[in-house]
Amino acid sequence: MNGELDLIAEMLKHSPALIVAIPLLGAFLTPLIGKINDKIRNAFAVFIVALTSFFVFLLANDILSNGSIHTYVFGGGPALTEGGFAVRILFEVDGMNAFMAIIASILALAGVIYSWAFMKENTGLDKYYTLILLMIAGMFGMILTGDMFNFFVFLEIASISACALIAFRTNQGKAVDAGFKYIVISAIGALLILFAIALLYSQYNALNMAVLAREIQLTFLDKIALALLIAGLAMKAGIVPMHMWLPDAYGRAPASVTILLVGATQASLYGALRMTSTLYGKNIIAVLKHVDFDLFGQSVVFDITLNGVLGFIILLLAILTIFIGVLMALKETNFKRMIAFAAIAEIGYMILAIGSAFLAVASIDTVTSSAILSQPGYMALKGGIFHILNDALDIGLLFLVAGAIYYATKETSLNKLGGLARNMKYTTIFFLIGLFAVAGMPPLNGFASKILIYESTYQVNPILSIIAILCSILLLAVFVKVFHSAFLGPKQEKFDNVKEAPKSMLIAMGIIACLIIFIGLFPEYVLNNIVTPAADALVNFGNYIHEVDSNYVISLIGGF
């Protein structure tokens, strides 16, 4: 009994490293195992991902229940050497990381199970599974790492493997083209992120996020680094007007890859959140400029603070993202491209809430070194983080349904589809669940997060929530159109011999559908147990630093 407990404790201690190391090991082993047998290889990939998810849930359970932060120093030794600087790479996992890791593990599991039948008649599957596992490892590395340069490395791993997988169908010219666009975009974004990391290193001689967050002074170089980080990660997250690579990539990739791309995109969004809220958390309300001038007699005096500027930028981009995503989705006739535009709109909802949260930062508590948000701002942050989970599940389910239809009919153009509900009953049911969830219909999970976003943004500015509600209605219209033109309608004899999707695809879709219904029925449970610790982890940036540097006292720079 005692030994078992020790084993559990050991696994818990090492899980941050194992979550990344096990998929890498599996990826290195897959080409050798693929020489034996195809079924063994597929089962091996599923087993590796299941093992990783087990460690993820072991870790997340501990973190979310106890509110603790796990650090893992690679190579052993203390996190900080004497003198207060981190020599070794270390992973630091708090509530937000655990939350994102849960999402990534769900998506990875669904994607790998789905691939079993979906990719059966393709060649080169050894390398396909290798790249899938590498992409999963890159996602987890981006999510869990606590080191800036390590973040860049895993960003590149995820990008390169994703690019090779997007261009998997090399007989389609547009797939190759989409892959090229993706690799160009992600290469430029990653290189400018590396430039920002080098700018930070040149001033503080540190690469560790916590140490940088402790040291950072918001000099001019820091501002440039912040702009580079935000722009690069926003492009990787597919925010309008830097979103055009996203429909191409999502639309051309195999569906089992697309669901992982969703996870990679949200890992980039997490990166942007971590950089702004933790790395620059100390300076989040620093006064950039003190405005004081006379306007028709009475003098106008106000301060331009960093969170105001950030909130302004993010809200501007959010409105653009929601509008353009929905409008383009309404026009699009290619199934997967349409879902991709809807995904862009969903990302817009997240950053709408996050921008409102930035605007709502009132002050910084110097005792616990945490940002103090107004109540609607805190609610907006919770809603945005909750919406990350819901968006991953809903959009992922819809992409899997689109993949199932492609598998059955070899057709993605909605103009050529019709009357599929007769042949593919379960797929139709899953699509309906995804439809109502994405459109924010009340009994499902989309509404649970969207009402938080509506309420909180309404208290920031009514127009924002009006726009959000209108676009949500348009989103429903989009998917009603899909439902009408793909599933309803008279029987078409060119689809007479269309069969239901095979089992593994149905299993993958079923997992996500069950999660959607569960979250829809018990939103408060998820909100209190998973989302709130993540939001607190973002707000109390001091804990992130304290975990590494125990004797850290916040020292606010001028302008407060």
Binding site: P31, K127, F220
Partner: protein, 93 residues
């Protein structure tokens, strides 16, 4: 000159201004003072022989202190090889 190119030139020059200005306020080449004293690297330089036993400081960083980065780097190369092979694979039919 089309609208697209003119807009491109404007924002290109904007970025150029910021970058060049940042180049001028970076610390002078090779000069370290108390503000940006390289403590971390000095620690590695002082302890590489004791802790890792390697005479080559760079190798001790690459394979010991920041070994995980190197694993990621090797993984990137592995990924590129897998990608190139999968893209030039022989399609059925």
């Amino acid at each position: 000159m089309s609208l697209r190119n003119s807009v491109a030139v404007i924002f290109f020059l904007l970025i150029a201004i910021f970058f060049v200005f940042s180049a001028f306020i970076t610390h002078p080449f090779g000069e370290f003072n108390n503000e940006n004293s390289p403590e971390m690297d000095q620690y590695i330089i002082d302890n590489t022989q004791n802790e890792t036993g390697a005479d080559n400081g760079v190798t001790s960083v690459v394979f010991d202190y920041r070994g995980f980065d190197t694993l990621g780097e090797a993984t990137v190369l592995f990924t590129a090889v897998a990608g190139v092979i999968i893209l030039f694979r022989r399609l059925k039919k």
